[in-house]
Amino acid sequence: MKHPPILQLEDDENDVLLLKYAFKHAQVPNPLVSVTDGQKAVDYLAGQGEFANRDRFPPPCIVLLDLKTPLRSGLDVLRWIRAHPEWRTLIVLMFTASANHEDIQAAYEIGANAFVIKPAGTDRLTDLVRVLHTFWFSYNRFPAPGSPDRTVD
């Protein structure tokens, strides 16, 4: 079965590049789809606009959200996700450079599943990606899917 994608909201191209690199090195089989602003992330999830084609843009199994992003912030997107019943159980990880206590508090209150600080350095990033992948895909059990195409192998 085809691995469902992991959707990343990240406006910094460098960070996108670094994460892709880390995914490759950590041998994560799930494709990483990156969008550069919050609206696009919402469009992707809603399957609208340029992401209308569900075959090309299947629903993600995990969403990584940066905090400060153009158009809609990461927390906005998270709020949108939790407001939509079909995405209420979607795994959402906040994935950001740094945060203060209020941000962390806010993210968890809205319903983030984790709050991860991006490490500096590819080796540490790769480590993190490996750990996250191992945790979410090996140890974790996903909730009953809202739609069948969100299952993972």
């Binding site: 910094d12 460098n14 960070d15 670094l18 690199y21 400060k68 450079a97 740094s98 203060n100 206590h101 991006k118 500096a120 350095g121 590819t122 080796d123 990033l125």
Partner: protein, 1180 residues
Amino acid sequence: MALAAAALASLVLAGWFLDLPRLTSFLENAESCRPRTALSLLGIAVGTWLLRDGNHRSRQAGRIIVFLPLVAGLWTWMEAVLGRPVGPDAWLMNRISGQLIPLDQLQMSRINGAAFLFLSLSLLLQQRRTRSNHSPAQWLALPPFALSLSAMIGYFYGAEPFYALGQRIAIAAPTALGILLLSLGALLLRPEALPVALLAAPDMGGYLARRVLPAALFIPIAIGLARVWGQRLGWYGTEFGAALLTLSNVLFFSLLIGWVAWRLSRIETQRLENEAELRVNEERFALISQVTNDAMWDWEIGTGRVWWNEGLERTFGFRLPSPYSDLAWWKEQIHPDDRSRVVATIEDAVRTGSREWSAEYRHRRADGSYAHVVDRGRVVPDSQGRAFRMLGGMTDLSSRQRAEEALREALARLSQAQRAGRSGIFEWIVPEERVIWSPELGELMGITPGSFEGTYEAWARRMVPADLPRVEAILQDAMARHGDSAQYEYRAILPDGHELWLEGKASFEYDPAGAPQRMIGIVTDVSERKCRELALRESEARLLTITENTASALLLLDVTGQITFMNSAFTRMTGYSRADVKGKTAHEIIHYKYPDGRPFPIEECPIDRSYWDLQPARNIETTFVRKDGTLFPVLASVAPLTGSDARPAGGVVEFRDITEQKQLQAALQESEEKHRLVFNSTYDAILLHTAEGAIIDVNETFLRMYGASHAEALHLTIEQISSPSLSMDRARELWAGVLHGESQLFEWRARRLSDGFEFDVEVYLRLLRMGGREVILATVRDVSERRRMEEALRASEERWSWALRGIDVGVWDWNLENDTVHFSSRWKEMLGYREDEVGRTLSEWSSRTHPEDLPRAMEAVRDHLEGRTPFYQNEHRMQHKDGTWRWILDRGIAIRDASGRPVRMIGSHTDVTERKRAEQALEKHTRELENTVSERTAQLRETIQELEAFSYSLSHDMRAPLRAMKGFSQILQSEYAEKLGAEGNALLQRIATAAGRLDQLIQDVLTYSQIVRERIRLEPVQLELLIHQLIDENPLLQSPNALITIQSPLHPVLGHEAYLTQVLSNLIYNSVKFVAPGQQPRIHIWTEDAGDAIQLAVQDNGIGIPLEAQPRLFRMFERFHTDQAYEGTGIGLTIVRKAVERMGGRITLQSEENKGTTFFVRLQRPGLDEASTNSSTGGR
């Protein structure tokens, strides 16, 4: 047998008469049976037949007939001896044939003769027996039997010697047969005698003989015959024949004996079994007969002998010498009245062979009394069906009748008892839900006999419904416990609607499984008792209510003086409970001492004396002692009690606590005195008149004021003490007014009695009621002094008034004693009023004061009056007559009497409206200035916040490119290391390191700015836990990288966990970092109790901090080591200090270069409750 022989003999004789030799000899060429022989045969045969009969006459005839052959035998032998025939037969022969018949033709064979001789002898001796039951007759019959048998066999086989027997004349075949038959007949004539008895015996010998003997007689003969015939026919030779004969014999006899043996064995087994069974039966019978109380008997009818078992002795007391008696004895024991009837029935039973006989009659006992018996018997017939025995048993009915009678009596008694006790018996068969009532119970319950339905429901229905659950609960409970019995009470409803109180007592029976089977019990009508109980209870309750509700204490004393009853009032008054008074006399408990503490001997006790002397005592005033030892006055009464013997038996003591009464009396007395004192010491003169004007009482002041003695005073008239210038009409007018109830206050000119001096008085008259009659109270005050004072004051006032007017100050003078205020004219003027427009009350002031200011002004007055302020001063607004509000500065001071009590307050009143206005303008100005300042401050704060947010945002955004730099340089290093070369790699490393440092710097700045900005809440923190976590999570802080020791336990502190983590990690990391190269960092951490704070210390063995560097240590970006080994951002300690300060703490240090540094962090101590609620999370 005899008849057959007779027939044979007749046949032979007929042969002779008809000359048919075939009939005389049976065989060809064989010897014929002579007529004489035939006659003898006939004779014996007839004799035998006659002798067989028991009839005496025929036997006689038989004997006579038998003599003939005997004679014939003897004759034959005689002829043989004589050698010629003689006798009638010869004659007969000769007559028939007409010729002389030779002797040998006529003569009977000698053997025959011997045989006849034997046979006839045998018949004659028929009745004879030897002592051993042997019959000579039978022995005599044996030789002829053997002879004839031998002859017969001889004829069968054709063997002459066997029938000739060496005699000239052989035995003829018919003769042989006849003799054989007759000898058999003779043998069988008396089968009960030996030796034939052997054959007839019912035992095994007889059985064996009967089976084997015939076979032994006939089988060999038959086989032999067969052999002879076979041989004659030439089938086989002699040898073969002999062998065949032998074999056949052996076979036949073996089979026979085998068969007989098998039969015998079976019979024997059967017999043994029967014997065993018989024995058991016999034993059983023996036992039964031994144990039964019935007299069992066995009557041998033939002999009349009766056997009795032990029952005869046991039941009837007869002790017979042997177990046997005769029938006559039994008959004698029957009551004469019954005897003939009983004997007749038993004889009838024996006669008819009745199997069952029974009779009831009176049978005598050994002591002569008669027992009522039932006697049952059974006739046992012998083999002929004749009654030869009778067996039976006799039962004494008397005991049963007695028991029945006793039972009847008992039942009657029970019934009587039930009736008498107004009770009844019931039985409840639980599994069947069936209830049985005794007739008496039915009677009790008022139902007609037999109409009780017999169900549980019927029982329950007759119960007052309110009682049913309770009774059922008791029963269920008892059965659940497997209890033996239960007791309960309930009200039953009678058909006529009456109610009965019933008391039930029941016992239970259970089956082995424990299920209740039966409940049997008795119910008793306890209505009367219940009524009495209720009445008693009511009466008791009434009494108790009375005793408990009376205010008096009640005691019931027994003759020893001990308390047998006490009411709660007693406990309330004395504090003694029932348990306290046990075993002591009332005197010992409450009356043992006098108020002055002396012991109170019982001999002096009037209460004790009262009930001993049987003299009631009332209102004894004494003191009792409470449990706590205090005394209280009482008024006690004693009612002695007498016992039935009219001797003292204690008494009832009733007493009341009269403390209050005493106090009241004392108070009254005191009040009286007080009033008298007041009456006498008042400043005013007081007179008390009757309505008619007569003086009743005057006080001492009056006597002084008017110069009169008390005796004179009581006879004074109004004229005597008034100035002569006054008209008495006015006095009378006033008097009339007061009599109408109008109090009168007026001024009067009084005259002193002693010297006629006149003075001014103020008189107050009032009508009063005293003890039911009208009196008139006159209060007279000497006002001449006051008049003088007023005059003087007015002058003084005037002076002041002028002075005060000059400085534009109003004056007020408040007399606190009569609450009047004098306001000066200027005071009034300043508020726009004329002199007469303002009264003398305080409200003139308070009503004009602004309501908002009044409370404060009043409070200021009060504060001064109560001595809290040295003078009174207040600024308030007062309303001018024109309606405007004036600001007044009001000041005053109290004048106090000797005891310090304020009696008067005098003050000034200044209009400060102008000044106030100026002040208010100034105040407004200031307020505006302050507003401006705070607005500016807010703006500034906002700017700072924006700046902080900006710096946070900037730092955050700055990290992104740094992360990219670091990331990409690492990618370069890992993917393109070879292409870059050594120098390239080194440069790349520098880029990465620089980016890393900048990132760290930014992170630190972010942390700092967060610590500066954040709002935190302080909570108790377990330091020890925190430090352990820190060390556990960082390998750098663990051995061997560092050696950290913690002096447990560390005090918990009030702080912020994240901040404390920052502080501790920075300090510990610093300590680890700043050590001399090659040295193991050693860090010691402890806390100290510093009073209201906790001091945390982190001590290291590092390189230390130079003294001159210490002041700058906590400033941002200050670094003291350019050395690569001690790199850092220079923010760490700044963060530490800020965090400590944010937690309300302070950080200090002690350091010595190359020795080490100790940082001291003073932190707040958690509150008691906080520390205790959190202490449980500490320690690990």
